[in-house]
Amino acid sequence: MKNIIEVKNLTKKYKNTKAIDDLSFNVKEGEILGLLGPNGSGKSTTINCILSLLNFDSGIIEIFGKKMNTNAYDIKEKIGVVFQEVAVFNELTVYENIDYFCGLYIKDKIKRKEYIEDAIKLVGLEDFKKYYPKQLSGGLLRRLNIACGIAHKPKLIFLDEPTVAVDPQSRNNILDGIKKLASEGATIVYTTHYMEEVEILCNRVIILDRGKIIASGTNEELKLLTKIEEKVIVEINDLDEKYINDIKKQNNVDSVSYNDNNLVIYFKKGKNNIVSLIEYLKKENIIYNKIYSMVPTLNDVFLELTGKELRD
């Protein structure tokens, strides 16, 4: 599969701090790439650099095999962008907004009309065509924001946190829409700090922190990166320090934490760790309410790689 985007050694400084630090990656045709990272990790900056909105200090950016710059209209034509902030005209209706932004790409009026209808259907705004943005709820506004960015059926779509502060119904609608766009052949770059979305949506994930890639790969590949394979959570009231230290010494245990009456134990390998744990608890006569086992999430990966949570 050929590369749609190639980023090589991208660096962007704001005064003395490096927002992006020697970043290199590529995006392959037809994939949904997730750019995952906490707020301020450089996701939006990266996208803005790729789009030639921001000056950067060094690096090469190629899209569709050509060097990207502000006047590369043939490249821009095939790109759709959905920005983090809602970018629509308050004075224009839903339909007019989409028509305006779509019109910047598609000159043929009949074709445009068809495309706009498709976009409206995709985000489910059929009943709101004549509404003004002020009359829309937050979730519907986000959907309009997306429709404005993708109505011209671009081959490459950037979605910068399109689901921030969106109700579950709208979020599902948006995620379904993105899947549909991908199934129609678009390549998608999706930034977010919701790991759940990445896990549902993306073929490949790049985890960013402080402008650097700290890991990349498919969901499964990333999870293999961690030493831990299982995470067991036990609800125990007032557990003595002694027991915690005991558990730490057990086989396979990587680390243990005890917060809010929740004992979390990370195991390095194996699947039957929970059995031995239950045996231990029984032996020591420790009363517990609930016990369950989980496969690690991307958040755990991130936590392990950076020592902090994704969501701050």
Binding site: L53, N55, T70, N71, Y73, V88, D99, G103, K107
Partner: protein, 389 residues
């Protein structure tokens, strides 16, 4: 593409109630207020017929000259009527004066003639001056009689001398030629400054449309910037849309002031249109500069333009025409840099002067002003990539 952007810029401007209020409705409302308040000023400032009273006593009845003179000056059928005279008793005259119904009254005494007024003022001064004149005419009579006697005519026919004297006085012709310029209505300045205000307020339209297409100013701008359309094309379309919106607003204001309020802008329609075009251009250039040069939110930018415009209009005489005159006279450079003043002065020279050099000086100043501002703006508008957004 150009048309597409133009159409939507236009639509966006016209649907923004705030913009339309300040650029379209507010000048019209203000013009109406001006008309209501100022329409009578100049008429009232002309000399009105002055209400006076004369105490009808023996002394007055016997004084032929005073009698005759006031009869003429109080004649309702005469064009020369200066006074509206009530002949009354002393007590009535006093009451009329305290009630403010007359400016003053005349009381003829044996040795002197007295004018009694309640306060000092122009009407009172005129009453005094006129009475002075009549008394002085008495003096002249004496002089003439004296003169005739000195000339050694012994056969004195006092009646004839008297008649001659009156004839001499009446025939003394004062030859004045009025060479004033025709159009002297100074309240026009108020309306001209209103037009100037409308022109400069129009800058808000330019500001708003330019804000929407710059990636570092608005989110919509980012979207426009990543689209495959050249920035200059977009900016040109938006700017043109706002300029035309501005001109439509101005045209409505002109139509309203000319046909409803009957304002006189002089007779040269083409030159009026030219001045409006460059005036609006100056307003537009301010809008573009503020839109591209300042990085704050749109409300703050609108605030900058509103207060700048009000200040310029204040200096160009909107809140009292004396202001413009004082500045023109003492610190002319300020008004040479003030676009509102250039517009006002342009209209003023069209209205008041027959020659056009002053008018064209103002037009050219406005064009230069606009060009400088636009050139400065282009510097920041040309950037397509930013260090930060």
């Amino acid at each position: 593409m150009f048309l597409h952007n133009f159409k939507y810029s236009f639509l966006t401007l016209f649907r923004n109630k705030m913009l339309i209020f300040w650029t379209f409705a507010f000048p019209i409302i203000l013009a109406t207020f001006f008309m209501m308040a100022f329409s009578n000023i100049e008429k009232k400032e002309q000399l009105d017929i002055i209400d006076i009273a004369i105490v009808e006593n023996e002394e007055f009845t016997n004084n032929k000259i005073l009698n005759e003179a006031f009869k003429v000056l109080g004649d309702k059928n005469s064009k020369e009527q200066l006074f509206n005279i009530k002949y009354t008793k002393l007590e009535d005259a006093k009451k009329l004066l305290t009630d403010g119904e007359i400016s003053g009254y005349l009381l003829v005494k044996k040795e002197s003639t007295e004018v009694i007024v309640s306060t000092s003022g122009v009407n009172q001064t005129i009453l005094k001056q006129v009475t002075d004149e009549i008394i002085q005419n008495q003096k002249i009579m004496e002089k003439i009689v004296e003169n005739e006697t000195v000339n050694g005519i012994y056969n004195i026919d006092y009646n004839k001398i008297y008649e001659n004297a009156i004839k001499t006085i009446n025939e003394a012709e004062v030859r004045l030629e009025n060479v004033s310029n025709k159009n002297l209505s100074y309240t026009m300045i108020e309306f001209y400054s209103l037009i100037a205000m409308a022109c400069l307020y129009g800058g808000i339209l330019g500001l708003s449309s330019i804000n929407e297409v710059q990636a570092n100013m608005s989110n919509n701008g980012k979207r426009v910037q990543v689209s495959p359309v050249s920035k200059s094309k977009i900016i040109l379309g938006s700017t043109l849309a706002s300029y035309i919106a501005q001109l439509i607003g101005l045209a409505i204001l002109f139509i309203y002031t000319v046909f409803v309020l009957k304002i006189d802008y002089g007779s040269n329609l083409l030159l009026i249109i030219l001045l409006s075009l460059v005036g609006s251009l100056a307003g537009l250039s301010i809008g573009i500069l503020v839109g591209s040069g300042f990085k704050t939110n749109e409300n703050a930018k609108t605030g900058i333009i509103l207060s700048y415009t009000m200040f310029c209009c204040f200096l160009s005489g909107m809140m009292g025409i004396t202001m413009k005159y004082i500045i023109d006279k003492n610190i002319p450079i300020i008004n040479k840099l003030n676009p509102a003043s250039m517009i006002v002065d342009g209209f003023y020279s069209l209205y008041y002067y027959d020659t056009l050099d002053r008018y064209f000086f103002n037009v050219i100043s406005l064009v230069i002003f606009a060009c400088i501002l636009i050139l400065i703006s282009i510097y920041s508008l040309r950037r397509q990539k930013y260090d930060s957004i």
